[in-house]
Amino acid sequence: MGSSATASKPALSPRSGERAAATGRSLGAGVGLRAQHHAEILSSRPALGWFEAHSENYFGPGGAHRECLLSIRAHYPVSLHGVGLSMGSIDPLDTQHLRQLQRLVDDVEPLFVSEHLSWGSAGGRHLNDLLPLPYTEEALRHMAARVREVQDVLGRQLLMENISSYLRFSCAEVPEWEFLTALAHESGCAILLDVNNVYVNAMNHGFDPRDYLDGIPRSVVREIHLAGHTVARMQERDVWIDTHSTPVCDAVWSLYAAAVQRFGPLPTLIEWDADIPAMATLQAEAARADSISGLSHAAAA
């Protein structure tokens, strides 16, 4: 144990929320960081637990966006959420992309670094979208190796997020929750559980979303996402589309309550990436999440 006063003194970072960031669990809900809110966040410091930035939006080595992100980081915990590493692609990992992520991680010192259970490129061409994998043994081996590779480079644990999907492959697959759990087990990653994506997939593919929650071990989930979706009509059937353009619906709030009951209160994020509303609307969504989880932004102080 600490033999001198210096050694036993906790190394406190000047950044606000650092203690909460270390434990994570006590944070009130956060919201996705969008450029149109940068100035307002810095001037009015809304009462929110944390922010999550899309990593690729801040890859540019200079400029106002990156400066704003670092200024916001001085006042709030921030997590980095990647959409472009194309984790499940057979294409080689884009080492330049990974270097840019590593540099951003070094600068931001994020609460979490997350990516998606998806693929997005083939033969060097990127679709810049999150496509589902076939949940097979081959895909699991590939994905687990890829996650380990990224974790080794970054020197930290990744959180992998379940995606919304609009198709399934016609091969012998395991359920998505089994695949995600096996991935966490084999790669050592944690899970970012997107409750809206669970709901959207349950509607699109006909399973009970509670089975999904029950299929994920309590210990591997570190973060929860909530978002809005829309319902489109296709060939006389409804298709649930993960648009991040609307408030969280009542069914997803109920499923969130079930998730809190199963996994305990976890850092929860409101995602809203299209038709982006005023900060007050996002704060109201975050407050609703806090009322369900029993946490609040004050817990971060």
Binding site: E56, F59, G60, P61, G62, G63, A64, H65, V83, G84, L85, S86, S89, I90, D94, H97, Q100, W119, G120, S121, A122, G123, G124, R125, H126, L127, N128, D129, L131, L133, P134, T136, E138, A139, H142, Y166, L167, R168, F169, S170, C171, H205, G206, M234, Q235, R237, V239, I241
Partner: protein, 261 residues
């Protein structure tokens, strides 16, 4: 079921419109045709590409109208699919694409407007590098001046065009109320695009200053750049031109010079 690599290539080929049917057998219908299911992803691909280019090239979009801009982005996607998981790169070749498309037409100016918009975007995200402190130049012995290699700050870009691209850009900004008919023969434009707090801006500079900066950007020494310019502009005043470049904060620090101070 094909191996994962082949499956991903078949899906991608389908989404790019190249292999319409071969992947369909591997997708469950569950009440909706596999082709319609893949159509959701094709729509995402095309919409995402279109939206990104619209954010990077708002002036081109305004000049040609949304419908034609959509045709352009579809054609561009076919020839220049994204090569990165970072969408910020997708528009890099848009100017050269427009140049090939409009090479012998009255719309060739669109390629140069696009080059200006891309330079603007690059400026906004470029690395911040300290400008050259002119005081450090005093330490350079006169006989070494010719060997000096100035480099441009990453947040500076050069754009030249036979067309009045800056005026076209200015009157097509969202806040611009100008209903101006621009004479396409009122060029040329020689522009230095640079970043300051609050955004990216432009200096319209003269042709010889532009050639000097372009020579430095290409790696020329001071002596080499001077030779190039005086061959066609014998009265070129190098000292005055360098002072202007320093005033614009166009040059990056020269590490060896700053280290000696």
């Amino acid at each position: 079921m094909p191996p994962l690599r082949e499956l991903q290539e078949l899906v991608a080929a389908h989404l790019f419109g190249e292999e319409p049917d071969s992947v369909l057998a591997w997708i469950r219908a569950d009440g909706i045709d596999p082709a319609a299911r893949l159509g959701i992803y094709r729509n995402n691909l095309q919409q995402g590409f279109h939206k990104t280019l619209g954010l990077e090239y708002p002036v081109i979009c305004r000049l040609v109208g949304t419908d034609y801009f959509r045709q352009l982005t579809r054609a561009f996607l076919e020839h220049h699919p994204s090569r990165s998981g970072d969408l910020h790169h997708v528009g890099a070749a848009f100017s050269s694409f427009l140049r090939r498309r409009f090479v012998d037409s009255e719309y060739l100016y669109l390629a140069d407007v696009a080059a200006l918009e891309w330079a603007y975007q690059e400026c906004l995200l470029a690395e911040e590098v300290e400008p050259l402190d002119p005081g450090t130049l005093r330490n350079v012995p006169a006989q070494s001046h010719g060997m000096l290699r100035f480099s441009l700050r990453p947040s500076c870009r050069l754009v030249q065009s036979p067309f009045p691209v800056l005026r076209i850009w200015q009157v097509n900004q969202p806040e611009s109320a100008a209903e101006e008919i621009i004479d396409l023969d009122s060029g040329p434009d020689f522009l230095l695009v640079f970043r300051r707090p609050g955004g990216a801006y432009f200096h319209r500079i003269d042709q010889d200053d532009f050639r000097l900066l372009a020579a430095f950007a290409a790696g020329s020494s001071l002596a080499e750049a001077l030779d190039l310019i005086v061959a066609s502009s014998p009265r070129f005043d190098l000292g005055a031109a360098l002072r202007r470049c320093i005033e614009w904060a166009a040059f990056a620090r020269i590490p060896s010079l700053h280290d000696t101070v």
